[in-house]
């Protein structure tokens, strides 16, 4: 009893509200969404369970979308590959250009850079010896989305009141993994005021995973997750969101704090590039660029609570794009 009181006091003080917001945007940092394939699909499920005894449920999904051929590395850069000699004895410098004259020579449409995204979602719930209420909606859509919409979206509320020896374990995580080669910036942004200073968007390679896990004997857990990476315009930022809220339940004996262990995390490894202009001998030579890696960010955050948990809230958002909302 003494020990329980200490734990209770500890988490009443420490875990009241944790909100995490990660925003990535800037000259060198920008995930570019990928446009939908001509054929689009959608999956939507709603689950409602109110039971005593044993309940198990699980969800697993992976969505991959590529602008070119999936899983065929290396990714192809956008622009017309050409070569420059910036002086009499200068060495050859290959690079990429969007110069219309070069397009006229090569006789092909301006090649766009290759972008590929993988998104994953996983969820498991196992409850024994208790009363469980489980409500979940999940929607998957491969169509273009705008800000405020997600390609994968989940909402769930799980309330568990364990009996003698009753436990519920649950884990959930959502992942977005985007890689993009250098691609042309023209005609990719709808906003007429969002001028692009460079004819190319630099390459990127970003992966973000967030989620939670809980092992409770009593408590109510609500989570919401979503990822967005399919859009017709680069105006719409790529996003991942994950929200968890844990609190107690109100029973016949009144309100009781949640009891057990809860943790939530976000891990990110972000790598962004810049466009380096190719030196030219003559001003009228086509302008060329080469992508170079310019930024690397590793991020990991985990919050955990164990014991009597009065409230546990963690809100994690990841946005990356040419324009944030």
């Amino acid at each position: 009893m003494v020990i329980e009181m200490n734990v209770y006091q500890q988490f009443m003080m420490a875990i009241t509200s944790v909100v995490l917001l990660i925003l990535f945007v800037g000259v060198t940092c920008a995930d570019l969404p990928i446009s939908a394939t001509p054929g689009q699909a959608g999956i939507s499920t709603t689950t409602s369970i109110d039971a005593l005894g044993v309940v198990t449920t699980s969800s697993e999904m992976t969505l991959q979308l590529g602008s070119h051929t999936l899983n065929d590395p290396p990714l192809e850069n956008g622009g017309y590959l050409s070569e420059w000699w910036p002086g009499e004895d200068a060495p050859l410098i290959p690079g990429y250009t969007v110069d219309p004259w070069v397009g006229h020579i090569q006789g092909i449409p301006l090649p766009l850079g290759e972008v590929q995204y993988s998104a994953g979602y996983h969820e498991e719930v196992t409850a024994v010896s208790g009363s469980i209420s489980y409500q979940k909606t999940m929607s998957i859509s491969t169509s273009n989305k705008t800000s405020g919409e997600d390609n994968i979206a989940t909402d769930r509320i799980v309330t568990f009141i364990g009996g003698d020896g009753g436990r519920m374990t649950t884990s959930e995580d959502i992942l977005i993994d985007g890689e993009g080669a250098q691609t042309v910036s023209a005609n990719q942004v709808c906003c007429p005021f969002a001028g692009t200073a460079n004819p190319f968007f630099p390459p990127f390679c970003n992966i973000v995973r967030s989620g939670s896990a809980a092992d409770i004997s009593t408590g109510s857990i609500s989570t919401a997750s979503g990822v967005r990476f399919i859009s017709a315009s680069a105006d719409v930022p790529v996003a991942e969101t994950y929200l968890i809220n844990v609190k107690g339940v109100t029973g016949p004996d009144g309100y009781a704090d949640a009891s057990g262990t809860v943790n939530a995390f976000m891990n990110a490894h972000l790598q962004e590039g810049r466009e380096k202009e190719v030196p030219r001998w003559y001003d009228y030579d086509p302008i060329g660029f080469n992508p170079v890696k310019a930024e690397a960010l590793s991020y990991s955050e985990t919050s955990a609570a164990s014991g009597l948990i009065h409230i546990f809230t963690k809100d994690m958002q990841y946005q990356s794009g040419t324009r944030l909302v």
Partner: protein
């Protein structure tokens, strides 16, 4: 060949130096190139040199050459009989002997002896010539002549203070007259400086070198399909050199022959000796695409500067060559098409751009055949 000699006694111990001019005609004979073609005869002596103290003495004398030639072209030249290897324009040279006539050596005066040509405007070659060890033409003709008098003026400035003069000695000068008639050698062109010029400009030729040039020789740049470009002679033509200017305004670029024509109509040509160029060579600063497959036809684009209409583009790898069909040219861009041989070697090829004046630029590893 005919030689006249003048000699000078000099006494340093008296205040008034008296130069006793003793003209001795050592040798008087006629040497025609072909016996019946030409002969010359000297009428008169080199004489009347005398020193006046305290000044530079320029004594002159007149002699007359009588030239007879049955050939249509002929020339009469003079040279310093004392030193056939003397550099043109160098100082005069005298043979020195003592009072009894014993030869004691040669003396070089401070000023060279000159020979002025005849006065007839149609025959004279112009100003006087300075005697040298080489033949210097004083007269030439394009028609046969009989007994043509050629009065010549020979002058030799001698200073009383000339350190080479010794008392009690006599000094001689020797002038050799040489006649050539038709049958002389044709001109030979061996070189030209500069060997190139920029189209649209005037180039000054400082030395069109060769041999057997004559005073009335002409020179041209010539090339099939183009009008000749005449050399405007600006200096004295020697047997081995001509100078002048070429007006290259409107001249076609490329390699031109250089032809010298002597008054007798004989010509000498050295092919492709003079290069008329554009002001600058082409340069390559950009190329696209980087590669092409064997058997494929590819459009290519070259960026740079100095490209001219008629420019040629090719790719080489070892002995293999791919010539491009040029379709569009600006000063800074070339558009062309290539067909890569299906059996051509794979790997990196060299890009070469050559203007029609022959100036070119190359870039290695510019194109990859896959």
């Amino acid at each position: 060949m005919q030689t006249s000699v003048g000699d000078y006694p000099h006494r340093s111990r008296v205040r008034i130096i008296v130069i006793l001019v003793l003209l001795v005609l050592l040798l008087l004979w006629t040497v025609p190139v072909t016996a019946a073609d030409i002969e010359i005869a000297v009428d008169g002596d080199i004489s009347n040199w005398a020193f006046t103290p305290g000044t530079t003495n320029i004594d002159s004398t007149n002699i007359t050459l009588n030239v007879s030639s049955i050939s249509s072209t002929w020339t009469v030249s003079v040279k310093d009989g004392m030193d056939f290897n003397k550099t043109p324009g160098t100082v005069g040279r005298m043979a020195e002997s003592d009072a009894v006539g014993a030869y004691t050596g040669t003396k070089v005066l401070g000023t060279a002896m000159t020979v002025a040509g005849p006065t007839e405007p149609t025959k004279t070659i112009g100003s006087s010539v300075v005697l040298s060890g080489s033949n210097q033409v004083i007269e030439s003709g394009l028609t046969p002549v009989t007994g043509l008098p050629l009065p010549l003026t020979i002058s030799q400035p001698v200073s009383i203070s000339d350190q080479v003069l010794g008392g009690g000695h006599r000094y001689q000068v020797i002038v050799t007259f040489i006649a050539f008639a038709e049958g002389g050698p044709e001109p030979v062109v061996s070189g030209i400086v500069p060997a190139e010029g920029i189209t649209g400009t005037t180039v000054t030729v400082t030395n069109l070198s060769g041999s057997n040039f004559l005073p009335h020789s002409t020179a041209v740049l010539n090339r099939t399909g183009f009008s000749d470009i005449n050399l405007t002679v600006t200096g004295v033509t020697t047997p081995t050199s001509m100078t002048g200017t070429f007006n290259l305004v409107g001249a076609g670029v490329g390699l031109w022959d250089v032809t010298v024509t002597n008054p007798d109509g004989r010509t000498g040509t050295k092919p492709q000796l003079f290069w008329i160029k554009y002001p600058s060579a082409p340069t390559i600063s950009f190329f696209t695409p980087l590669s092409g497959a064997r058997g494929a036809t590819k459009n290519i684009g070259v960026g740079g500067a100095g490209f001219q209409n008629g420019v040629a583009v090719k790719f080489t790898k070892g002995a293999s060559v791919i010539n491009a069909a040029v379709s569009q040219v600006t000063s800074g861009t070339i558009e062309a098409t290539i067909t890569i041989p299906s059996d051509g070697p794979t790997g990196l090829w060299v890009l070469t751009v050559t203007n029609n004046d022959g100036q070119s630029a190359s870039r290695s590893n510019a194109f990859t055949v896959t």
